[in-house]
């Protein structure tokens, strides 16, 4: 980004409109807007619905409502309140999703916090990954700490790898209602092929292989093989076909 930011114009779309890309200081869409071409800016905010057909590079990127980015997105701070779809790779510093985000490629960030749902078709890597709700990762989910509270129904990742991996079932404030839901298809669970980490604590998780240093397999788990080097713990409600110390 150029150092001479004060020369950059702002882009405002109020109501409905479209504009072409370029270098801006601040880009704001209030209502519905479409930007064609690549955008390089300091701030990108959508209130309502916004679409960018090219690449976006912005210090901050915030969607309140719905958003759509076709090209790659590079930002230091990504906030989605509502829903957003990213067709290409996303590189973000701090990523917060309240609502839902659909990433058709990969996500690379320093922290990811999700309340609601996130879907990444490729890999997802971060220093910290924290989710309350549902996530679906087509490739590898890797982070130093993966802290997941499962809600509503099934989450999945092909592989999970990292330092400390904690998967638990979220406590619903709805009480009785939630227990009625949980009788049917609304059963919060996680499905993965392999989970590898230093400290692993799992609940309601189905995996073929879990490998780690200290491993705790909790209620509702169904694991094919656990390999551990340190300590191993298993609660009564867990199903583990085989576990061995290596």
């Amino acid at each position: 980004m150029s150092a001479n930011n004060n020369k950059r114009p702002d882009l405002r779309i109020n109501g409905s409109g479209s504009a072409s890309g370029g270098a801006y200081d601040s880009v704001r869409i209030n209502g519905s807007g479409r930007i064609s071409g690549d955008v390089d800016c300091n701030e990108f905010v959508v209130h309502g619905s916004g679409e960018a057909s090219g690449k976006v590079e912005s210090k901050t990127f915030k969607i309140n409502g719905s958003g759509h980015v076709v090209g790659e997105l590079k930002t230091n701070e990504l906030k989605v309140n509502g829903s957003a779809t990213f067709h290409s790779a996303v590189k973000g510093g701090n990523v917060t999703v309240s609502g839902s985000a659909d990433l058709r490629e990969s996500l690379n960030a320093s922290t990811v916090r999700v309340t609601g749902s996130i879907k990444v078709e490729g890999g997802c890597s971060a220093e910290e990954f924290e989710a309350q709700g549902i996530f679906e990762i087509g490739g590898l989910l890797t982070a130093d700490t993966v802290d997941v509270r499962l809600y509503w129904h099934k989450s999945q990742a092909r592989e999970i790898g990292g330092g400390k991996i904690t998967v638990g079932v979220g406590k619903s404030g709805l009480g009785v209602l939630a227990s009625i839901f949980s009788l049917g298809a609304h059963y919060p669970s996680l499905e993965a092929e392999t989970i590898e980490g230093d400290e692993i604590t799992l609940e309601n998780t189905t995996a073929k292989v879990v490998r780690g240093n200290n491993v705790t397999i909790g209620n509702g788990c169904d694991i094919g093989l656990v390999e551990y080097t340190g300590a191993y713990r298993e609660t009564g409600g867990a199903k583990v076909a085989e576990h061995r110390k290596i």
């Binding site: 790898g161 990292g162 092929e193 392999t194 980490g197 230093d198 093989l225």
Partner: protein, 207 residues
Amino acid sequence: MDEELISKKELLELTGISYGQLYRWKRKSLIPDEWFIRKSTFTGQETFFPKARVLSRIEKILSMKEDASLDDLADMFSPDCGSLSLDRDEVLRRGIALPDIVDMYAELSGAGQEFGINDILCVYLLSRHITSGDLSLPEGRTMAELLKEGLIRFHGSACDLILARKLGVFFCFMTSPPCDICADSGFRVIAKINIPSVIEELKLKLI
């Protein structure tokens, strides 16, 4: 070109690193993604690595991480290092190349006194292979011209430089892996040079 592979489990046992470290290094690209090779085994999918390369890389990381941050290490291992440049005296002082070869190269390329990373790479290889007797000076020139072209074409990505001779006639070419070569029997490979590992060697000299 079949390399010996090592499974992730064996790798961790052998090196004593943890899953957390391995994944952290993967995220920082200290271990390139293409070294993570997924294969089906009877226990499901397993990840394997090219044994020799991954072991030497981990040894380097472990020996250096005391005094360098992971990001610095990542820069060092990345095949891309666009902004670096040295002047002629610095190239000589750091023992990258012999003065005659630096001057020959400067004349050939019109590089002047400032050497970018591609120039440094080129004089380094020239110096190495001319002193070892692999190449004559005119052959070195051919190689320098190819490198100049090739490094731009394969910009920042992995590639190999192959020096060969047939019936005494020298020629060279660059490939971008994975790439197998099948040549006739008169074809003698003098050297197969993996550019990213040369850049790594060079960076060790530069820091």
